[in-house]
Symmetry: C2
Subunit: 166 residues, 2 copies
DNA sequence: TGAATTTAGTTGCAAATGATACTACCTTGC
DNA sequence: GCAAGGTAGTATCATTTGCAACTAAATTCA
């Protein structure tokens, strides 16, 4: 084995060795955290909003009133997190709940006037940040990134669904 | 406001509206969480390892003994998290600490025999998982994804560094 | 109909996390 | 060689998170 290829850290495994710094789930996690951290701090500092409260405001800002359940789906948050975010926003008067006409367990949640005002402040800032993040990416690269992320999500979903063999 | 063009959700802002489902930091976060969740559950279930303990093992498995500080840098974890992961792994006998020769505050951390055995089990599984995740991606697409993530990280770092205007 | 199951949303509790402060040690500059 | 400041790593405490259990209402189906 005097040939330098058999470095410590990987046995007879054959394929490429595991290097954390090149491992996709790790890379995704790091990129995601870096991308989120500034904006999260900004929203905390400027509006006193957690990232989950921000997400709820963002989807409600798109227009429609949504049930907590619909918010879960739209934000990829779980129902406990959504419940807590809704309560916090409600206490601050940024959203209002009205009993659902069709399901007495559920409420329709919508931004109040104040909530909409916050949204109007927040949205441009968020878009500015995204622009800054993608500065230097061509339109083609942006499209590719979007496509790759979408396919990655789809693969992960597929693995989550059946592949509990992992 | 009777004209239908002023849909709720974006004011006079001009550019594209904010849609959470198309917002890059959100997309990254969702993709990252999905990609990590299966593997995290697998490591928890099969080895009783948290994702941070796993990261520490992964970098130590690359060969060199590292100080906690070096592990922080290699894993993008903060020092408290690293400290806790090291303690847990130490208690389980998967790593050993030896006082650093050059700095009496620090220890060199390395995998024990048992730790290396765990690593040998873990690494192929992690690589299988990554392969499954990237199934259907051409070599070119993988390279592009890697490049895009790297540039994204660099942009985020730059914004984190100076752009506290956010 | 009406028992059994499912779903919407909340609550309580245990565990994980993060900020801060702390000890011990190192480094710098005088 | 020693005071002032910085760094490695740990401990402490408050907050956040996630799971499971719970209530109330809807749905299923015998």
């Amino acid at each position: 084995m005097a040939d330098g290829t058999d470095r410590p850290g990987h046995g007879a495994g054959g394929g490429r060795p595991l290097r954390l710094s090149a491992y996709l789930p790790y890379r995704l996690s790091v990129a995601s955290n870096k991308a989120s951290s500034i904006i999260a701090r900004a929203y905390q500092a400027r509006f006193g909003l957690t990232i989950w409260e921000w997400r709820v405001i963002a989807v409600l800002g798109e227009g429609a009133a949504l049930t907590a359940q619909a918010i879960c789906e739209a934000t990829a948050m779980d129902k406990v997190t959504v419940s807590r975010a809704i309560r916090a926003l409600d206490e601050r008067g940024l959203i209002a709940r009205t009993p659902s006409a069709t399901d007495r367990r559920a409420s329709d949640v919508a931004l109040t006037k104040e909530g909409r005002a916050v949204y109007q402040d927040i949205a441009p800032l968020a878009l500015d940040y995204e622009r800054a993040l993608l500065d230097g990416f061509s339109a083609d690269e942006r499209a590719r990134l979007s496509d790759l992320l979408e396919r990655l999500e789809a693969r992960a979903d597929a693995l989550n669904a059946d592949g509990d063999g992992f």
